[in-house]
Symmetry: C2
Subunit: 82 residues, 2 copies
């Protein structure tokens, strides 16, 4: 069993209206000096599979990320079950 | 200037309906062996500030995370400007 950590982020050059909105909200609360805010998804889950990497990549490409506008990257951690 | 990477995740014990929904969607697409799916936010931005850590923590506590149900953690990377 492995713990999988996936980051899904917008591709370079894709506009991030959510990021812009959060930047404005921060400025409205007097937090200055913030720029290039990009907001993405972070997912953690455990996976039992004989082909972990292949399954994670297929899951990302088919469901967890939108391959047209998003990139994904993942890390795997062995889960030690007592 | 620093690059800030923030992870906002639901606190332990807080139900994650979005995570459950994604798990079900994965099963519907014949991806099995997935459990404990937790979905959070991942934010990247650059920050110019004389008190980076204090400002990032205040921004997280006041806007980027909901302290009642979410935890946050952050990493800082020095940005080398040529």
């Amino acid at each position: 069993m492995v713990k999988v950590k996936v980051h899904v982020t917008l591709k370079e050059g894709v506009l991030d209206p959510q990021g812009k909105a959060v930047e404005k909200a921060l400025q409205a609360k007097d937090f200055h000096g913030v720029s290039d805010m990009r907001i993405g998804k972070y997912m953690e889950f455990t996976l039992e599979s004989s082909q972990v990497e292949r399954q994670v990549e297929e899951m990302c490409e088919q469901l967890l990320a939108n391959p047209v506008i998003e990139d994904y990257r993942y890390e795997l951690e062995e889960v030690v079950t007592s």
